[in-house]
């Protein structure tokens, strides 16, 4: 009958009106900026570089392999390799980036750079309140602004950081074990060589008394 559907609609809206005062589930507004919704762990916004320890220069994980620069879809990463090397967390000598710029106004937060990095050097940050009024360069982030400590990463992505740290600790242990084994093998070989040399010298000395007969 005419009017029935209209009345039903009115009742529905009245229910919502009253419910918004009474029911917690109805009124879903979050009063930003006084309240903020917690971001889930996997949320991503822009990348940042990781360093171990306290020194952002010495502990920087990035070895300037340029893989992220090549794979970045909008080509927002710019890297220049250094000419000298520095040791990484397992002690191997690696290059490091002299210049590492990300143009955040171009970056589309796709996370491909994170996916392809073989050295766990670049990860996604969650900060989104990043407005600046500096048009020329305010959104071009250099290595200094990008480098953040591993503790920060553990704070924002605890599960991922735990997994990465466990893997790196395992790799470090294996490298150290291999190094120790290699050192032991080398030491054993050196000891043998020394013993052989001694034996040879003794033999030679004995042989030196009589000319070759």
């Amino acid at each position: 009958m005419l009017g029935e559907g209209i009345v039903k609609g009115l009742i529905e809206t009245a229910r919502n009106f009253v419910g918004s005062y009474v029911d917690k589930d109805r009124l879903v507004t979050v009063q930003y900026p006084e309240e903020r919704n917690p971001l889930p762990e996997a949320a991503r916004n822009f990348p940042f570089l990781l360093y171990d320890g306290d020194d952002p220069e010495a502990g920087l994980r990035c070895v300037s392999c340029h893989i992220c620069e090549k794979e970045c879809p909008p080509r927002c990463i710019h890297i220049e390799k250094s000419t000298d090397k520095k040791p990484d967390f397992v002690g191997k000598q690696q290059f490091y980036p002299k210049v590492f710029n990300i143009d955040v106004s171009v970056c589309m937060s796709c996370q491909i750079c994170v996916e392809v990095c073989p050295f766990d050097a670049i990860r996604m940050d969650k900060e989104f309140e990043l407005s600046t009024d500096d048009r020329f360069g305010g959104l071009l982030w250099t290595k200094k602004e990008l480098a953040k400590p591993n503790e920060y990463y553990q704070k924002i992505h605890p599960m991922e950081a735990a997994e990465t740290d466990a893997r790196r600790a395992e790799e470090l242990k294996q490298t150290q074990a291999k190094a120790a084994a290699a050192a032991a093998a080398a030491a054993a070989k050196a000891a043998e060589a020394a013993k052989a040399a001694e034996a040879a010298k003794a033999g030679n000395g004995a042989a030196g008394k009589e000319p070759s007969a």
């Binding site: 009958m1 809206t13 009106f17 009124l27 507004t29």
Partner: protein
């Protein structure tokens, strides 16, 4: 107890008539040559102060009401609970640049908001806001009100035409067609009241309804013809003032703002003000005609002053308008016209017949229930028939959908 009651009613009556006594005192205490000025100012200034103030309150209430219906907060940053939002809106509209299109007709473009606001204000002259509180005592007050209401349509067309914009022209043409079509059911539904009350003066109509049998009032809305008339009147009023679901002329999502799309800044605020003032005016008239004006719903509640009752009823009507706006999509132009001419006009005529039958049926104890049944039947049967006729014309149906066979 009786003494207290008398004292209470005495006090209540004094509070009720407080404005009238103040007006009387002020006029008698001014020197003779200035009396005309003071009496005019005392009528006009309250109207100019109260109703725009109510408009400011309504804008906030509407936004918060709509927000709550949509499960969100309305504005709540400016002032406690957002109640100072109108001040922010006023500052914004006053400081905006006034853009007038180069090819627009300058004079008409400038005059249109002024005409519409002044005619909207004029309608308040005949609304009885409280006991003995009416701006102008006119014997043909109702006629004056309807005449003024038609003058607003002129301003709407002035706005649409002078903007030299196809959208506003479309909007203005739609608005005129709509407003003219809905004048007819509006006036016809009030004729039933005029017939029964026997007068065109709003204050006398209220006085007729302010009588009580026991504790129940004689409001016309409590009769079958009055109830139907009230619904018809309010629907036609919503269409007259371009209020959702009849806001096609300012169809926000189609032709954006319709006839006032070329207005910015304060002129736009004036159009907005005029629209809301019209809503208050027709609601006020609806309250006067059907809801007993300033009279209390139950006789013992008459201790509360009459002007408080009027504004309370007005606020309830505004709430209902906001509620309806938040619920319904808008009708299309031709459906709107169909609705006015093919449904509301016949219903208004039948309503008049029903009022006459109600009046002339004998009023004995036996007939109380019978009178109700007969008059209700007179209303309901054509309603159902007309509704069915409307639906068939439009071919709307409840559809059942089939699914493809699995395969």
């Amino acid at each position: 107890m009786n003494g207290y009651f008398a004292m209470a009613t005495g006090l209540a009556e004094r509070v009720d008539q407080i404005f009238v006594t103040f007006d009387h005192w002020a006029v008698t205490n001014t020197p003779e040559p200035l009396r005309w000025l003071v009496s005019i100012l005392l009528i006009v200034v309250p109207i100019l102060a109260v109703f725009p103030g109510l408009f400011a309150l309504t804008t906030v209430l509407e936004r918060k009401g709509l927000g709550r219906i949509q499960n969100r907060y309305g504005p709540n940053r400016v002032g406690p609970y957002g109640l100072l939002q109108p001040i922010a809106d006023a500052v914004k509209s006053l400081t905006k640049e006034d853009v007038v299109p180069r090819t627009a007709d300058g004079v008409v473009h400038y005059l249109a908001p002024l005409v519409i606001v002044s005619t909207a204000f004029l309608a308040y002259a005949v609304l009885p806001v409280g006991r003995n509180m009416i701006a102008v005592h006119l014997d043909a007050g109702l006629l004056f009100f309807f005449a003024i209401g038609s003058a607003t349509e002129l301003a709407v067309f002035m706005a649409g035409w002078s903007s030299r914009n196809k959208y506003s022209l479309l909007g203005a043409m739609r608005a005129i067609a709509q407003m003219i079509s809905y004048e007819v059911p509006l006036i016809l539904s009030s004729i039933a009241v005029i017939m029964i009350a026997g007068t065109l003066s709003p204050e006398k109509i209220v006085l007729e309804q302010a009588q009580y049998t026991g504790i129940f009032p004689h409001w016309y809305v409590f009769t079958p013809w009055g109830f139907a008339g009230f619904l018809l009147f309010m629907t036609a009023a919503a269409a007259e003032t371009n209020r959702s679901p009849f806001d096609l002329p300012e169809g926000e999502s189609e032709i954006i703002a319709g006839y006032f799309v070329e207005y910015s800044g304060f002129k736009f605020a004036l159009f907005f003000l005029a629209e809301y003032l019209e809503i208050f005016a027709v609601s006020g008239l609806g309250i006067t005609l059907f809801l007993g004006g300033w009279s209390a719903p139950l006789s013992f509640l008459a201790v509360i002053p009459s002007w408080i009752w009027f504004f309370a009823k007005l606020l309830v009507m505004i709430g209902v308008f906001i509620w309806v706006r938040g619920t319904m999509p808008r009708l299309r132009m031709d459906q709107l016209m169909n609705f006015a001419w093919k449904f509301m006009l016949p219903m208004a005529l039948i309503d008049m017949v029903c009022a006459g039958v109600w009046r002339f049926l004998p009023g004995g104890a036996l007939w109380v229930v019978l009178r109700w049944l007969i008059c209700a039947a007179i209303i309901v049967v054509p309603y159902v028939a007309l509704a069915r006729g409307l639906e068939q014309g439009r071919k709307i149906e409840q559809r059942v959908y089939r699914y493809a066979e699995e395969g």
